[in-house]
Symmetry: C2
């Protein structure tokens, strides 16, 4: 099964190169050799199979191995090990539990303006990528620390070999930490300093009429769904120490099962089943950034779902990310990658 | 004729308010009372008329009057008159002529990296809006000095009363001084610090297949065409003095007929007739940012045209901007407006 998926992927990879009109395949396809292993399931011609389910968990493990190698290599050169410690802002009990259990809290502050905090960080230590300099550099296609969720979506697309060059992409959601940077990465020039996806990108949002959203998603080769609806209540923030210098980033919610700190908005809700199978073109790739805790009438318990009607859409899509186990663990991995990039001072 | 156009506009304005779902009309419609005068031509129900041609020249005159009043008011409070002086970078003969004739040149530098120059300016004096802080603030929906071309397109749309809330917009072009900021203004939230257009925005560019571009433009209620193709040769730059402090902004080309400094890329070319009438939905609004000097076989002379097949498209569109006399003069006006904003320290 794994072998088939890998063979299929390699075929797509080669096709990708041909259609890339002579530009470097490296800029379009990241680490091809390692990607096939991230898949479960397969397709073959003539038979209708379910979508290849992209395991963010597996891909994140791969990236964490790469980061680990990067850290060891960095330490072997005589540098200190990058590490994080956290100061909480706000009173999210889950965050407190997390901090008590996992990381030594250093201080606590309430009622901090998010933008002031973001801009109060030195941009080179802003592992969350929310500082105005990082946003500015991102939007000008320069190297920057990229918001981890956007970076996760980019890596999933590129490592899976999903083509974006000249393709139609719909990004549903315009939040500044997910939808906007995702749209920015995907529409920009593949030959700029920080290569973009060269896709035709449609940015949809809460004021896009549902029937218009469907018209756009039916045209899309790739659908990224990140319909963040949130109540901006007390924020949970974190102060990180990197090389013994403080690095702040905004932690909004702590995933209970996360091995590392996760970047989500507190009181964050997406829209369950925003994307249904009638809205998806046969063979499209669907990346689900949504995080929704819904009541499961079968078990009576709360369960985690995305913004996509997964069971129905997977029958029509070529690739799909599950929730949980898709973008979530990849976001954690990309945050760690940002930490390593910051420690190594690669960007600044 | 003028009366009819105005009456029509007022009707649209009211409809705009109703469809705005209760949000402040002021954020959607700028200076309604002054806009009707900018139109030539009219429409009435049952008869097929050509598009209302939006006169950027007339609208720019109106804005320049507003700026003039702002300047006089500013001076009456005891402040100095904002003024500009220029230092050229590069050897564009037109620029030299312009500077010799209009403004005292203060110095000359060659081979300057554009981004370094942009970021070398204090963001509060960056009337061109290209500093990374201004780009970052723009993309985070904060008040900023907005690139003049993008600002011109926004003002044209809002002062004309063209609706964007929940509408489909195609922005053809992803340049950092036009297409990108235009897309940013139009897709963002109308209730944020710097209100956006709340439109569903599709960003198309050179790698959008022509047939896909047509599919998208046929869905569009508003088409903004800014297909900047440029050869990044020697840049013409300018050093401005504002309150006797130097303000640099990048002047790329001097429009021969401009009363003020104009911000265009040197060796800047669009794509004449990129948008033809078969690509435009009946009743769409078409904003043409293109600047192309083409050979006119009728006269044997060079003439200025946009990216839109104007004569054919005006028969199908509801509103259209001409070239010359559309976005160009409005860009000049918005640059002056930025200068006044900078002088009054309204943003920073």
């Amino acid at each position: 099964m794994t072998v088939s998926a890998r063979a299929f992927w390699l075929l797509r990879g080669r096709l990708g190169r041909v259609s890339a009109l002579g530009r470097s395949a490296a800029s379009l396809l990241a680490a091809p050799g390692t990607a096939g292993r991230a898949f479960r399931g397969f397709r073959s011609s003539g038979l209708r199979h379910d979508a290849i389910i992209i395991s963010g968990t597996e891909m994140a493990k791969q990236i964490q191995k790469e980061i680990q190698r990067g850290v060891e290599s960095w330490i072997s050169l005589g540098n200190g090990r990058p590490h994080l410690s956290i100061i909480l802002v706000g009173d999210n009990p889950a965050s407190h539990t997390y901090v008590r259990k996992k990381i030594k809290a250093a201080a606590a502050v309430d009622h901090v303006d998010e933008r002031t905090v973001c801009n109060g960080i030195a941009p080179e230590k802003d592992v969350d990528g929310f500082h105005i300099i990082n946003i500015g550099r991102l939007c000008l296609d320069q190297h920057s620390l990229i918001p981890a969720t956007a970076s996760a979506v980019w890596e999933i697309i590129k490592r899976t070999g999903i083509e974006t060059f000249g393709k139609n992409v719909v990004v549903a959601g315009r939040s500044k930490n997910a939808g906007m940077p995702i749209a920015m990465l995907l529409h920009t020039d593949g030959e700029h300093e920080r290569p973009g996806g060269d896709a035709t990108v449609t940015i949809a949002h809460r004021y896009t009429p549902k029937e218009q959203l469907k018209i756009h998603t039916l045209l899309a080769d790739v659908i990224v769904v990140a319909a963040v609806v949130f109540t901006p209540l007390t924020l949970s923030g974190s102060l990180f120490h990197l090389h013994n210098l403080p690095v702040i980033f905004i932690v909004r919610e702590i995933q209970k099962d996360a091995a590392q700190v996760v970047v989500h908005l507190e009181k964050c809700f997406g829209i369950p089943k925003l994307i249904t199978s009638d809205m998806v073109k046969e063979g499209a790739a669907v990346i689900d950034v949504g995080i929704n805790y819904v009541h499961d009438p079968m078990t009576g318990k709360t369960k985690l779902v995305g913004d996509v009607d997964f069971e129905a859409v997977k029958k029509k899509a070529s690739f799909i990310t599950p929730v949980p186990g898709g973008v979530g663990p990849m976001t954690v991995a990309m945050l760690l990658k940002n930490t390593l990039l910051a420690a190594k001072k690669i960007i600044y």
